[in-house]
């Protein structure tokens, strides 16, 4: 085991390989407050990559209804349970949030790599603590769709009184869109006995070499997000390839510029923003104040990693849904949730402007600028003053040229009277 630094945990941790970081890292931010569970992303991915024989139950991108849904079923609860058994009562956070090296404080518990050391069987220690889902768990990708929590815990037949109480609802659900997180410390890569999984040095995309894979399914067992899947017809494991030809700028539509993946581009709710971020030598994000992802993750701190305690340093970040009870969100996104929700609920003018960039252009945005506009609205949100300015945010592509220009206030177009009822 090597000792590597995991900034999401705010501390070094054990990992089977030495740290090696790409020149740029594929990353994305999803705003869960906006997801309507339409599955456009799911179908965009399906129709691009997994439409062939043997891939019938394979969804590289999926949207599940939390808290009960999951693909495979209960993937997160099962892994959390394994970690809890390995380290009873010890999976907690401490310390105080600091700079980009420890933005959420310090994780005091054990990661999937650390907990695996104690999980020794006659074949030796596991590389990462995990389990192999059953066929049945893979078969119902959309089970529990739209199922909310209905009753107080342990009282199945009694509905909540005032279920809509604010700021957090008692009866609630939300959609969690997921794909491979192209982790900085991938558990799938660590576990592969054939060294068939690699992380690309140019963009950090994690791929499975189909020529080397021999279908041991150790990656499926190890990946805590269960985003490596077995295909019975080729007898190899497959996973999200982050639409790498698009990220490389080889899609003709991009005019040579890196483009966002199919799932990001197809999102009709404009919940997704994908980018490439530069890294320091220790794997932390290089300061880049005007990069939209850097801003959302490290400045505004509204976008948080999914289950950072697993320890793989996932590169998918989520703006948590503001109506969901905080204890649930803290377990899912770590201790940064409280501040993130507070910030998102009463956004300042820069955050409001950057949020407009989501889903506005298929090309990847590398930098943004804000052109200030007049104040157009003012109110009070739960005792806090909120001001809205009609600023304009401008996004720039890899070549420094403008790719998007959006005003905060949505323009209103009034049809002339003679065309009032036509398009």
């Amino acid at each position: 085991m090597s000792n590597v630094y995991n900034w999401q945990l705010g501390r070094p941790m054990d990992y089977p390989y030495d740290a090696a970081f790409p020149r740029e890292q594929f990353a994305f931010v999803f705003n869960l407050n906006r997801c309507i569970g339409c599955q456009s992303c799911t179908m965009a991915c399906k129709s691009t990559w997994t439409f062939s024989k043997g891939q019938e139950y394979m969804w590289w991108n999926n949207v599940e209804t939390k808290p009960y849904g999951g693909y495979p079923a209960h993937w997160d609860v099962k892994t959390l349970d394994l970690l809890e058994k390995a380290n009873p009562g010890g999976q907690s956070w401490g310390g105080t949030p600091q700079n980009a090296k420890a933005p959420y404080g310090q994780f005091k518990g054990q990661t999937v790599f650390e907990a695996a050391k104690h999980n020794v069987s006659p074949e030796g220690a596991q590389k990462a603590l995990g389990y192999l889902p059953t066929d049945e768990e893979w078969a119902g990708a959309n089970r529990f769709e739209d199922h909310p929590t209905g009753a107080p815990k342990g009282e199945r037949d009694r509905y909540f009184q005032r279920p809509e109480s604010l700021p957090q609802h008692k009866t609630w659900f939300f959609y969690l869109a997921r794909l491979c997180n192209h982790c900085s410390y991938p558990a799938c890569l660590a576990a592969c006995p054939r060294s068939a999984i690699y992380k690309r040095p140019e963009d950090g995309i994690v791929l499975i070499d189909q020529e080397r894979c021999r279908g041991y399914r150790k990656c499926m067992e190890a990946c805590p997000y269960k985003k490596s899947l077995y295909r019975g017809t080729t007898r190899t494991s497959e996973k999200c390839v982050a639409c790498y030809p698009r990220v490389e700028g080889r899609d003709p539509d991009g005019g040579g510029l890196p483009m966002q993946t199919r799932c990001m581009s197809a999102c009709i709710g404009h919940i997704r923003l994908q980018g490439l971020v530069e890294l320091n030598a220790d794997g932390t994000w290089k300061e880049n104040r005007q990069h939209p992802l850097y801003y959302l993750v490290h400045v505004a701190k509204v976008a948080l990693p999914l289950y950072p305690q697993f320890g793989t340093e996932p590169n998918g970040y989520y703006i948590p849904p503001r109506w969901v009870p905080l204890p649930y969100l803290r377990q899912m996104f770590g201790p940064g949730v409280d501040a993130a929700i507070e910030r998102y609920s009463v956004p300042d003018r820069e955050l409001l402007a950057v949020l407009q960039l989501f889903g506005k252009d298929r090309r990847i945005c590398f930098r943004y600028e804000i052109k200030q506009g007049p104040k157009v609205f003012e109110t009070n949100i739960r005792g806090k003053k909120f001001e809205m300015f009609n600023d304009t945010v401008i996004g720039y592509g890899r070549d420094g040229k403008e790719i998007a220009r959006i005003a905060v206030e949505e323009p209103v177009h009034v049809r002339p009277a003679q065309h009032a009822n036509s398009i």
């Binding site: 074949e123 066929d135 049945e136 021999r214 019975g232 007898r235």
Partner: protein, 298 residues
């Protein structure tokens, strides 16, 4: 009897068994399996490769003693060996897909058993298989008199589904009782009380105990299932037993002439006048008896 396998089932069962062996210390055996498996990836032709995987997994299915477990359980039911043409094991993805079925065509009686891969590693594998084989043996047994179609005149599909469900519950109880699967008793009772919730508890107990002890044939089970079946009342908006369309215009027995009743029973032998029908069907069948052969002009 010919034994046939679904390749996907064999591959996943052997893989899971090898994984179990590896975790329990028999790494050499699992290593040998993986080494043999790996060589097949070198085959460029996909058909040849698939064929190679199938043969390898049949071989390992036998070597790991999995085939012997299936055959030993099947041998407990001589009727299957005598009368079935083939026994096929196929993969089920979910628990609700598991079970045995008999497919009959002229000159062939093929038994298909659908199983989850994980089922082979579970403690209850043999009891489950025995239970399913017992269903098949009943279907092959002339004395049982199995009939695949369950009919109830004029019943809409939902009522038929309810009847089938009740029949399945009853049949499961008799099989569990016959096989002395005491571990199943509580689950059977729970299903039984759910399916026959309208019966008083005393009657439920009496019926359940009788089913557990005795071995009623198909007709007997069907009679029990039907006996607690209540026909859907002629409610406004309910389905007409003849055309199945919802109706608010019911024609009762008194509104139908003997000619119409005869005409309906010609098409629906199990229909009774008190079941009623919609006004439109009543009119149609009344008219059909009044119809004259067409006049031909030459």
């Amino acid at each position: 009897m010919q034994l046939r396998y679904d390749g996907h089932l064999l591959e996943s069962v052997v893989f899971l068994e090898a994984r179990r062996l590896e975790q329990s210390g028999q790494a050499a055996l699992a290593g040998r399996y993986h080494a043999q498996r790996s060589t097949l990836y070198e085959l460029a032709d996909p058909d040849q490769r698939s064929d190679g995987f199938f043969k390898l997994h049949v071989q390992w299915f036998r070597e790991l003693g999995l085939e012997a477990r299936v055959l030993a359980t099947a041998k407990e039911f001589p009727l299957i060996e005598e009368r079935a043409t083939s026994l096929m094991l196929r993969k089920a993805l979910a628990k609700k897909e598991e079970g045995a079925e008999l497919f009959v065509r002229p000159g062939a009686k093929n038994v298909v058993v659908a199983l989850r891969s994980e089922r082979f590693l579970e403690d209850g594998f043999e009891p489950f298989l025995r239970h399913e084989f017992c269903h098949v043996a009943d279907m092959l047994d002339d004395a049982f008199g199995y009939e695949p179609r369950i009919e109830l005149a004029g019943a809409p599909p939902t009522e038929l589904a309810l009847l089938r469900d009740r029949y399945r519950v009853l049949w499961d109880i008799t099989i569990a009782g016959r096989l002395k699967q005491e571990a199943e008793r509580a689950a059977c009772w729970s299903e039984f009380t759910r399916a026959f919730s309208t019966l008083p508890e005393e009657r439920q107990r009496e019926l359940f105990d009788r089913l557990w002890r005795e071995r009623p044939a198909h007709a007997g089970l069907l009679d029990i299932a039907k006996s607690s079946h209540t026909r859907a009342a002629r409610t406004p908006g309910g389905a007409c037993p003849l055309c199945k369309f919802p109706t608010f215009d019911w024609a009762g027995a008194d509104g139908l002439g003997s000619g119409a009743v005869a005409a309906i029973q010609e098409h629906f032998p199990n229909w009774r006048p008190e079941d009623g029908c919609c006004g439109r069907c009543a009119e149609l069948y009344a008219m059909s008896k009044m119809a004259q052969p067409p006049t031909l002009f030459v």
